[in-house]
């Protein structure tokens, strides 16, 4: 298990380094940074001054290592737009996005896994078909539209939940449902497929031949094996929720990472854009690592050699 962990960690670090190089290169490929910082009215002397001030006159490898050094000290520079460090900016927005993502993931898993299991057990019945229909509907419905419908029903008509903002937990309920609903169909379908596969396997027949009760066969012997592929998918979906919640954050006016990234792109606020890109990449790396570890815990074939 320790060897496995170290191997995975090594891979994760390699990926992180690659991401940092790509992220750095992209920024420098996107045009002359000094001109961009200076803006359209800057004189060539001012641009030259900016170039020196930001170290943009040095060779690229030097710039990369300086930047990497700053990065490791969590010094991400200052935002061009807000006179504030990028670190503070991101740190203040991250909890909102993480909280929203975690709630959305919880909702998605709590709906998708039981529904997937139920659909597999009741295969070819109306329950199965209903579950699959919901999945198709979920995949076909744009999330902003679903979010607006939620607002119309629960905030405007029923007045149960606040329309927008992030001051209380209640403000997160609708966004989390809207975001979670988006990930539900894929997880449900994979759970159903996994369960169908496992339920027809020889070891399930063995478990039944032992006289185990149906619930135990289902939840001890079948579900654990069926969930192995679901873990990896859930990790990717979670990453997607964290990185791709711009639409939902906009609809519900949540000041999260997605909003920050969106605004920063519109304002050519490169340090912020770069920080968000890096952050999301790191989040993906961590999630992949977590999924690997979880899979190893579920499946001894990975863990024990």
């Amino acid at each position: 298990m320790l060897g496995f962990l170290l191997r995975r960690l090594g891979i994760a670090i390699c990926v992180a380094i690659t991401v940092s190089v790509i992220s750095f290169s992209l920024l420098h490929l996107s045009g002359d940074l000094a001109t961009a910082i200076g803006g359209p009215e800057a004189t060539s002397e001012q641009i030259e001054q900016i170039r020196v001030q930001y170290g943009l006159n040095k060779p690229l490898p030097t710039q990369y290592f300086n930047w990497l050094g700053d990065l490791l000290r969590l010094d991400l520079g200052d935002s061009f737009f807000f006179q504030e460090s990028v670190y503070n900016l991101v740190a203040s927005r991250l909890p909102i996005t993480l909280g929203l993502g975690a709630m959305a993931l919880a909702i998605a898993l709590l709906v998708a896994i039981p529904l997937g299991v139920l659909a597999a057990v009741k295969r070819d019945t109306w329950i199965d078909r209903l579950a699959l229909s919901i999945a198709v509907l979920g995949q076909a419905m744009p999330s902003f539209w679903f979010a607006l419908m939620l607002i119309v029903v629960f905030a405007v008509t029923l007045k149960w939940l606040p329309v927008s903002g992030n001051s209380t937990m209640l403000h997160f309920v609708m966004p989390a449902i809207a975001l979670g609903y988006y990930a539900t169909p894929a997880i449900m379908r994979l759970t159903r497929a996994g369960m169908l596969d496992v339920l027809s396997s020889d070891y399930i027949r063995t478990a039944r031949a032992k006289g185990l009760r149906p619930a135990r066969v289902l939840f001890k012997h079948a579900l654990r094996n069926a969930l192995i592929p679901v873990v990896a998918l859930a990790a990717v979906e979670f990453g997607f929720m964290l990185g791709g919640s711009v639409v939902i954050e906009t609809v519900f006016s949540l000041q999260g990472i997605g909003q920050l990234a969106w605004d920063a792109i519109a304002r050519d606020d490169f340090p912020v854009v770069q920080a968000v890109v890096l952050l999301i990449a790191v989040i993906y790396i961590i999630l992949t690592l977590l999924a690997d570890v979880l899979n190893a815990l579920l499946d001894p074939r990975i863990r024990v050699r």
């Binding site: 396997s201 020889d202 070891y203 027949r205 063995t206 478990a207 039944r208 031949a209 032992k210 006289g211 185990l212 009760r213 149906p214 012997h221 654990r224 094996n225 579920l298 499946d299 001894p300 074939r301 024990v304």
Partner: protein, 338 residues
């Protein structure tokens, strides 16, 4: 009184999505047999003759679409036809257990050997998990697995096929059942391992006085282990007899055809063609009548197309108009004993 009574056991499988009675596949057609305590009954037959479905029908573990009926199915006087699923769960693994054909896939990859073994006991007996593990270790030793305590902690993927089959046998023995159904337990194994596993099953059966239904297509193997043999063809038992009787005095043309197709060391000349049965197994879809073997039988007469009665004498039954079972000559019995 026999331990297991089976009367008129049938398994029907609907074909297609909206089956009419004509679309029923009559996979198992009215089996009658009994198994005594301490007896090894071998059911032999070719692929698709319904022998595996018979074993699953006895366990009530048939695939979803298959329908099981029987006029009587009792184990030690307990009716197994009208039982609720809940009561069948109490019997399975406890009073009757099963050994499967595929050791490589019959154990759950996610749980340790100890967990999967002890689970049988904690399910059916009031024992702690710890005591169940001790018992699991003893069972592993009984089936010839050394350093059992270490094996208990291992996972199926760390074990070879032969070891896994031993684990599955140990699993079947956990609650000391009355009856074990072994469905081709050696087919998926190497020849040397086959012999070991076969000896193991035979030894344990003798030692514990178990009743075993051993399902196989290998007549050579039957000759070595069976007390009694039932030959299945196209979903029916066409002949049953004490093992010796069957080999010395086969009555059904199908049994004779099977026996003729086995090479005998010292008698079969190298290069000589082995016996074979011409023709193909009939389709079992739709209503069946008459002897299913008649299209391949050299002796068939028009009356074979009518219902063929079972002819029985001294425990030797054959479903054939030409059957005349007689006790094997004493000379042959003595030869077999020596």
């Amino acid at each position: 009184m026999a331990l297991l009574h089976v009367e008129n056991l049938r398994v029907d499988i609907p074909m297609g999505n909206s089956p009419t009675p004509d679309d029923l596949l009559h996979a198992v057609r009215g089996l009658n047999f009994e198994v005594e305590r301490g007896e090894m009954l071998c059911i032999v037959g070719e692929s698709g003759c319904g022998k595996s479905l018979t074993s699953l029908a006895l366990m009530d573990l048939l695939p979803r679409k298959a329908q099981r009926t029987a006029s009587r199915l009792t184990l030690d006087g307990i009716d197994m036809i009208g039982q609720s699923e809940r009561h069948m769960c109490d019997l399975r693994g406890n009073r009757l257990a099963m050994i499967f054909q595929e050791p490589m896939t019959s154990l759950n990859p996610a749980y340790s050997i100890g967990d999967q073994l002890s689970e049988v006991l904690t399910r059916h007996r009031k024992v702690s998990r710890k005591d169940a593990l001790v018992r699991a270790g003893q069972m592993l030793e009984k089936v010839g697995i050394s350093n059992a305590t270490e094996r208990l902690r291992q996972y199926p993927h760390q074990l070879s096929g032969g070891l896994r089959q031993r684990v599955i046998i140990a699993m079947a023995l956990m609650c000391e059942p009355d009856l074990i159904i072994a469905d081709e337990p050696t087919t998926a194994l190497d020849v040397t391992i086959q012999a070991q596993i076969l000896r193991l099953i035979r030894d344990i059966q003798k030692e514990l006085g178990l009743a075993v239904i051993f399902i196989t297509h290998d007549l050579g193997l039957v000759a070595r282990i069976a007390d009694r043999v039932a030959v299945m063809y196209a979903g029916e038992i066409v002949e049953t007899a004490p093992a010796l009787q069957l080999f010395e005095n086969p009555q059904h043309p199908y049994t004779r055809g099977l026996l003729a197709s086995i090479p005998i060391p010292g008698q079969t000349k190298p290069g000589a063609a082995l016996g074979s049965i011409p023709g193909l197994v009939p389709s079992l879809v739709g209503e069946q009548q008459g002897c299913a073997f008649r299209n391949r039988c050299g002796q068939a007469i028009p009356a074979c197309a009518q219902d063929v009665p079972e002819v029985e004498q001294d425990g030797h039954m054959a479903r054939c108009l030409f059957a005349a079972p007689a006790p094997a000559p004493i000379r042959l019995q003595e030869r077999a004993r020596s």
